[in-house]
Subunit: 496 residues, 2 copies
């Protein structure tokens, strides 16, 4: 008789969930990267069946009883942390009946699939038809999670992606951001107005772009024997920790968006590839949260990838891929890659204007979930906030407005804040790495990225979900989330 029979039972169940979730993750990746259009209905049905099955496993009454019994067993700290994450997973799963899970999956598959054609066609009215149904389901979900957990509805949705994060904190952090960001953007733009930036001259052949991306991903330490790079409409990092599937998209007239997008996904990819192998299959081995995930991708894309030292390493690779041209001179490349320019598209935004896109989405989806506004109200709000925050006119351009992101078509509400919280954590991590390595800038200039990789592996990647986000940040950097590092980073890089 083992000392911890109930706990051991739980770990067996979660190993099974991990193995079946593998097939689900793979099918999700394939849906975005490979699936032909007529495969959609069968895939949606298959994914709904699997979601229902996993949901049934998570809501098996025996599981609740085992969790209670395991709480009274003699567990070590790691087991205790795993049990905490199991309980969290259990709590989320058991707030929702199977029929709701299945309806959400079907509605999201339908909405997302139709959106792929509706977005290029600028078809907001067509999108609304599916989206209203998906929103109604999301509200029902928020209400149930809210009642179960004693949280406000949007908090309850956000908690799925960012455990412990509440609107009170987001309001404080984003409220502060709203104070200084517009002024910062103005000062940076005034300063950059005097700069000459030479634009790269295309076309940039897709095959050369792909080779360049693969080379840079390699420099960043991604293990191609345990993952792939493919193409999808909306870049993402999917698959499983043992086989990470990153995607990007290529445009012949612009290589930089795809390249830096790929650097971003590589940050996600290395987090997944370096999660604690020994505990893999258990909730404690999973990535801590979406903001922490985003801190890893932005540590790669913004902190390291847009660092002058990294850019100096990139320059010769560009010349090799596309032929030498004046735009690839390191100082010019640096100006190009740190150019601040308010634009319509979130994923193309520079790191200074990006938070404005997030604030906008947060300010729309929160009242949407709370029922204060309806789906029909989105375009007018979008137009008003884009004018207010970034001075842009978006009227009638739904394609590059509320139709631009995959999140809403997939029914993902409460996720957007994580992007900017992640940017803040990434700045906080680099401040900590710089304290450990006062010569960090020189080492990056010398092409030695080990201080970054080693710190992230040791402090973040390998920790999985062993600690709460606050504890993780505290242990790694000496303090919980502190947005001052992000502000200091932007000031140093753009006004220093």
């Amino acid at each position: 008789m083992p000392a911890t029979p109930a706990y051991d039972d739980l770990t067996r169940t979660y190993d099974r969930l991990h193995r079946l979730g593998h097939l689900q993750a793979l099918a999700g990746w394939d849906q975005a990267a490979n699936m032909p259009p007529k495969g959609s209905a069968a895939r949606a049905a298959a994914l709904a069946e699997m979601a229902a099955l996993l949901h049934r496993m998570r809501t098996d009454p025996a599981l609740a009883a085992a969790i209670e019994r395991a709480e009274r067993e003699a567990l070590d700290d790691l087991q205790r942390a795993n049990l905490r994450e199991i309980r969290r997973d259990w709590r989320h799963a058991n707030a929702l009946p199977e029929s709701l899970v299945q309806r959400r999956q079907l509605a999201a598959s339908r909405c997302e699939h139709a959106w792929r054609a509706q977005r290029p066609a600028n078809d907001w009215a067509g999108f609304l038809g599916n989206f209203r149904e998906l929103l109604a389901i999301a509200r029902e979900e928020a209400e149930r999670l809210s009642q179960q957990q004693g949280l406000a509805r949007y908090d309850a949705l956000m908690d799925r992606f960012e455990p412990g994060m509440r609107c009170a904190t987001v309001d404080r952090v984003f409220g502060d951001l709203r104070q200084w960001l517009p002024g910062l953007i103005e000062r940076v733009r005034a300063r950059q107005a005097q700069q000459t930036v030479i634009a790269p001259v295309g076309p940039f052949p897709l095959a050369a772009q792909r080779r360049l991306c693969e080379r840079v991903i390699g420099l960043l330490g991604f293990d191609f024997d345990a993952g792939r790079l493919d193409v999808s409409t909306h870049p993402f990092c999917g698959g499983v920790p043992e086989d990470v599937r990153m995607t990007t998209r290529f445009r012949e007239d612009d290589f930089l968006g795809s390249l830096m997008g790929t650097v971003h996904e590589t940050g996600h990819g290395r987090y997944e590839q370096n999660l604690p192998r020994a505990w893999l299959g258990q909730p404690v081995a999973e990535a801590r949260s979406m903001a922490v995930h985003e801190s890893c991708s932005l540590a790669f894309e913004m902190q390291l990838g847009s660092h002058p030292g990294f850019i100096a390493r990139l320059a010769p690779l560009l010349a090799e891929a596309f032929g030498a041209q004046p735009a690839f001179e390191p100082a010019n490349l640096q100006r190009l890659m740190t150019r601040v320019q308010p634009g319509l598209i979130r994923v193309d935004a520079d790191e200074v204007t990006y938070p404005a896109h997030i604030v906008l989405r947060y300010e729309i989806e929160r009242p949407l979930i709370e029922g204060a506004i309806e789906a029909e109200d989105i375009p007018a709000l979008w137009d008003a906030k884009m004018a207010e925050l970034l001075g842009l006119d978006t009227r009638g351009n739904w394609r590059d407005g509320p139709l631009q992101d995959v999140h809403w078509p997939e029914g993902l509400f409460g996720y957007f804040p994580c992007y900017t919280l992640g940017a803040m954590f990434a700045a906080q991590w680099f401040a900590s790495i710089r304290r450990r390595h006062p010569d960090l800038d020189a080492r990056i200039h010398a092409g030695d990225f080990a201080p970054v990789f080693d710190w992230l592996r040791e402090q973040i990647w390998s920790q999985g979900s062993r600690w709460t986000t606050d504890e993780l940040a505290q242990r790694a950097s000496g303090e919980a989330l502190n947005p001052a590092h992000f502000k200091a980073h932007l000031q140093a890089r753009y006004l220093g």
Copy 2:
């Protein structure tokens, strides 16, 4: 209360199995076409978990009871056929305990994955290490199926792929083949010795090959909105009827192998794409058998694809893809594509020597399953039979010998005979099409393949598993399997 409650219950269970099987099929395709090496262990574990889950669903005691009750319900002919196929599926699943299914899946994944490196390394000894375990499991499986069904052990394995087929028939058909095939090969080779054949001059760029393949697949009516073509070591047709995943492999020095391999897979692919949509999810909607599947692929590759009229259509496409050259002149192309040449590799074999490869495999794997020989005995038997049947020396070349096929590394025993039975059915189908359309040759020459597609859709594809193989052949062509059509086809094409 519906009139057929037990039957309706069964159809719901099989719809679920179909949806979960979708994810299994996709993961199997991905494993061959995409998966990086370090993903192997997690994928094997995930597939084993899913195999065990599906096995549990198929062995639920409630299912047996429902089948018994459904037998007494008022079913129409189609439902009756579906119930027959459900019973067949149930019988196969319930012969094997879950632990055996899981062990087999794990052993097969391990063996197949290692084989991918062992084959190029000519590492027979390394392969034996995994293969012995897999063979032991296959024998255990054969023994159980044999006891349950009152069939001989190899018959019991073969019955999974070719329901109703027995060694007695295979012995008779292959025994007859052994009588006349060596003489036919000799006569054809003597006749071809006087022919001049101009070889195509490479290299043939892979991108051009891929475009050519996609164009020819399109001519053959494959629906690219409901399927894909990708690359894998061993070409196959996988995925699901709603989303067919075909694979091929490209070599820069030879386009013909890949092209005709793709034509072959397209025959499989169209069968899957044209299975009866209304019944999809039910066993009665599945492809009848592996020999019937192969009859579809060989109807495309050999009957239609190597027809002089089709080759005349192909010739200008080759010139367009690779530039004009003397080898692409239709008469030369015809000689090239019907060249008979004993060789080591089954999948590269011409249609005249191909059956010799199958007879050899049948004569090895049958005693292997029966325990009359051991895995260690394979190379010597292989060498002897290759010398006897095709006059070739294969000693020490395991890579191009018993390591060449994916079947044994995957634990697929009893499958090989289907290839040649399929070739015989394909000839029988074309004889029937020719009776309906006496102008068939002229129409193929005119680029009108509709007589072939329409007959196959009507008589074979759309019938799914509604009839037994004997009934299907009888209804489609007026007789059960008759190998005389195959012999007549070879004589007409190669000695006519």
